[in-house]
Assembly symmetry: C2
Homo-oligomer: 163 residues x 2
């Protein structure tokens, strides 16, 4: 895995790595096509009820998550770097057109990098969450980063095997 | 001028346009090489006493400005989009490696786009500052956006004619 534009910082960043048994192209499709993403993005019983993707630097990445109680959590970020079937980066600190986002109360901005590469008949999947502070890293960890991304990835694999 | 990834918003953004009588390549060099940038970036009697540039998406754009009283104002952002001799975009909302920046008290994040194109023997120069809110736009305007960017550009032209 190449990380050409940033250095992983153990004190600030979180990393999630797995090998999954579907091809990189299927992982890519699951992450980059709204009609796929809504099926797996949020660990059940949460739902993703809307998704908008403009897959290019400066393009929008918007989702609306819904809690089991029906409360909606919209989030709008933008893509920063896209290399098809290899890697993409987006951030919650900027919206479409690279416009700075206004922080919500207690919000935690982060930049995420998803990297995929072939691994036998499957895919090595790496997700990195990049934070501005140790506090934000801890907040993200305490929110259940490892478990949440793991469950979402399991849903992704199961869903993509079914389509 | 093409603005492929964002739409100018009169309520949120500021635009500065001028025609200058040096070639686009000289304007580009002035903005992208630290040894040039320190000579013109800050309207006198302020000074730019340090500059670091890694001109690629995710690369650092760091300056240290110094007030006439000797107080230093460091700023670290990152580039988002670079098209040589045409356009570059950077933001103060992210640092190198696309890492979200921690806001300073009363800080105002913005994304800036500098576009240049040939205009006869000179250059049409456009700077756009992109804000998250009307309040940040007004704060930037009140800080003297138009005057400051104008004076810096005059310094840029004068300096580049001398090198």
């Amino acid at each position: 895995m190449t990380e050409p534009f940033f250095t992983f910082d153990d004190e600030l960043d979180l990393r999630f790595e797995r090998i999954v048994d579907i091809k990189p192209e299927l992982v890519w499709a699951a992450w980059t096509q709204p009609e796929h993403l809504v099926h797996w993005f949020t660990p059940a019983p949460w739902k993703t009820i809307a998704c908008e993707i403009d897959l290019r630097p400066g393009g929008i990445f918007r989702t609306v998550m819904q809690s089991p109680e029906g409360q909606e959590f919209p989030g709008t970020g933008c893509y920063l770097d896209v290399v098809e079937n290899e890697r993409f980066v987006w951030t919650s600190a900027l919206g479409p057109g690279f416009r700075p986002n206004a922080p919500e109360p207690d919000a935690m901005f982060f930049t995420a990098m998803i990297s995929i590469e072939p691994d036998g008949d499957g895919t090595k999947y790496t997700a990195v969450a990049i934070h501005r502070s140790k506090e934000d890293r801890k907040k993200h960890e305490d929110m259940g980063f490892e478990h949440g991304w793991g469950k979402a990835l399991e849903q992704l694999v199961e869903y993509m095997k079914s389509v």
